[in-house]
Symmetry: C2
Subunit: 255 residues, 2 copies
DNA sequence: CCCCGCTCTTGAACATGTTCAAGTCGAGGT
DNA sequence: ACCTCGACTTGAACATGTTCAAGAGCGGGG
C-alpha cells in the first residue's frame, strides 16, 4: 500500500506512474510484457531497489540472489519472476544512470552554445554521474561486454536506451552554433556516442585516483575533435571526409 | 614443435618443451611457480588439450569442468590443481593463437616493405588465425573484458603476451621503409596494438557472414592510418602531432 | 630398505545462479 | 456467495564452478 497511487487504477491497464520519485519505472519498452498489476509492480520495485542497494554496499559478485530475496522479504523464485537473471537487475541501474546523465546534460547544454564546451560538459557530466559506482561498475562490466548479452550497449534490448543516449549527443550537435558539413552533421551524434562508449571503456579500466586519467582524456580529446570537425568544411579536406564517411557507411552495411 | 629450446632439461627445472607439436608450453612466466615435474606437466597438457577441444566442440559455457575432467580421465580437483579457474584455461587458447598470429605475421613481413601493406597483412593474418574460433570467442570474451580479470589484455598477468603482441607491431614499423617523425615512430607500435585491440573488439561483435565487415574495416582504416602517419612529417602539422603525443603521454601517467 | 617430504590426485562437500511444480491471492463474471 | 482464471509467490531441487582434507605415488637421504 503505497497510498500514493491513485485509487482509481484502471482495471487491466498497467500502472506506469512511479510510486516514489525516481526515474526508473517507465524503463522504456521492456520485453514481451506480462500485464503487470499494481501489486506486482510494487514487488518488482522492491526487489530492484534492494538489489541495487546491496550491489552498492557489498559489490555485485558478493551479493547473492538469496541475500537479495531475504533482504527484500520474498522468495528467491520471486526475483526470477520479475527479472530473467541476476544480470538483468543491472538494467535497472543502467536506466537510472542514463536518466541522471540526461538531466545533468540538459543543464550543461542550456548554458553553453559552443560545440567544444558542450561536448566536454556532457562527457564530464556522464563521468560525474557514474563516478560513485566506479568500483562495482567494473565488476559487472563484463556482463555488458558479452556480445550476446541483452545488456550489451549494441544489443537489440538496449536499443531504446541506446537511442536515448544518442539523442543527448544529437542535442550536443544540433544545439551548437558550429557550422559543419551537413553529412557529417548527420553522422556525428552516433559517432560521438561511440566515442562516449570508448570513454566509458577507458574509465572502467582507469584505476588512477578519482579516475583523473579519464578526465584528462576527455579534456585532451575534445579539442582535437573540435578542430577536426571544424576542418571538415575546408575544401581541401572534402575528399578525405568523403572517404571516412564512405568507410563508416560500408562498415555499417549488412549486420 | 618449436625445437628452439635446448634439449638439455635440467633435473629439477621445469620441462618447458611441449610433448606434442604445439606452441603452448612456454606460456611465458606463469604465476608463482610450483616446480613442475615431467608427469605433472603431461597431465597439465592433457587437461588443457581436452578443455580446448571441448570448448571448440560444444562452446565455452556448455563445457562443464566435470565434463573436461571426465573426458581427460582425471578428477575435477585435478584440473584446479593446474588451473586456478575455468577462465584460466582460456589463457592457453590465448597463447596458442598469439603464437600462430606471430608466425603468420612473419610471413607477411618478410615479403613486404611498405608500411600500409605490412600493417594490412598483419591485421588480416590476425583475423585469419582467430576466424575459426569466432563463435565461441564471443562467449568467453567477457572474461577478458573484466578489468580485474587476469585475462584482460591490460592485466599484469597478460603482460608478457601483450609485449609479444606489441613486438609484432614494432616489427611492422621498424621493418618498413616509411619515414616518419622519430617520436611517433617510438609510440606507433603500442598505438597500433591498441588499434588491433579495437579491431578485435569490433570483430567479436561482428555478426556479418565471415566477419566481412571487420575485413572492410581493416581495408578502410589502414590507408587512413598510412596517410596520417605520412603527414606527420609535414612541418605544418608538427604542433598538432606534438599535441597528440603530449595527450597520450599525459594519459599514460599515474596508473 | 625404510622413511621423509613433496608433487600430484581424488571425490565429496559447498556456494550460488536458476528452474519448476505447486500452490496462494484477488478481481470479475454469474 | 461462489467459481474461475490468471497474476503472483513459494521453496525445494538442480547444475555447475570451486574448495578442501585426505591420501597416493615417487624420489632421495640415511
Amino acid at each position: 500500500m503505497t497510498g500514493v497511487t491513485s485509487a482509481a487504477a484502471e482495471p487491466t491497464g498497467p500502472d506506469e506512474s512511479a510510486p516514489t520519485a525516481d526515474p526508473t519505472a517507465p524503463a522504456a519498452g521492456q520485453g514481451a510484457g506480462k500485464p503487470r498489476r499494481a501489486r506486482g509492480e510494487q514487488t518488482r520495485q522492491l526487489i530492484l531497489e534492494t538489489a541495487l542497494r546491496l550491489f552498492r554496499e557489498r559489490g555485485y559478485a558478493e551479493t547473492t540472489m538469496r541475500a537479495i530475496a531475504k533482504e527484500a522479504g520474498v522468495a528467491v523464485g520471486n526475483a526470477y519472476y520479475y527479472f530473467d537473471s541476476k544480470e538483468h537487475l543491472i538494467q535497472g541501474f543502467y536506466d537510472r544512470n542514463q536518466a541522471a546523465h540526461r538531466a545533468a546534460a540538459e543543464e550543461v547544454l542550456a548554458a553553453e552554445k559552443e560545440l567544444a564546451p558542450r561536448l566536454r560538459g556532457v562527457l564530464h557530466a556522464g563521468i560525474d554521474v557514474n563516478a560513485p559506482y566506479h568500483s562495482f561498475a567494473a565488476t559487472f562490466f563484463k556482463s555488458a561486454a558479452e556480445p550476446t548479452s541483452p545488456l550489451s550497449p549494441f544489443s537489440r534490448e538496449s536499443s531504446p536506451a541506446r537511442e536515448a543516449a544518442i539523442a543527448i549527443f544529437r542535442e550536443v550537435v544540433e544545439g551548437s552554433n558550429a557550422k559543419l558539413d551537413p553529412e557529417l552533421r548527420r553522422e556525428l551524434p552516433e559517432l560521438l556516442w561511440l566515442g562516449w562508449m570508448g570513454v566509458i571503456l577507458f574509465w572502467v579500466y582507469d584505476k588512477s585516483p578519482g579516475q583523473r586519467r579519464t578526465r584528462r582524456l576527455i579534456d585532451g580529446v575534445v579539442p582535437l575533435i573540435d578542430r577536426l570537425v571544424s576542418l571538415s568544411r575546408l575544401r581541401v579536406l572534402r575528399p578525405a571526409l568523403r572517404q571516412v564517411l564512405a568507410l563508416i557507411d560500408s562498415i555499417r552495411r549488412d549486420d
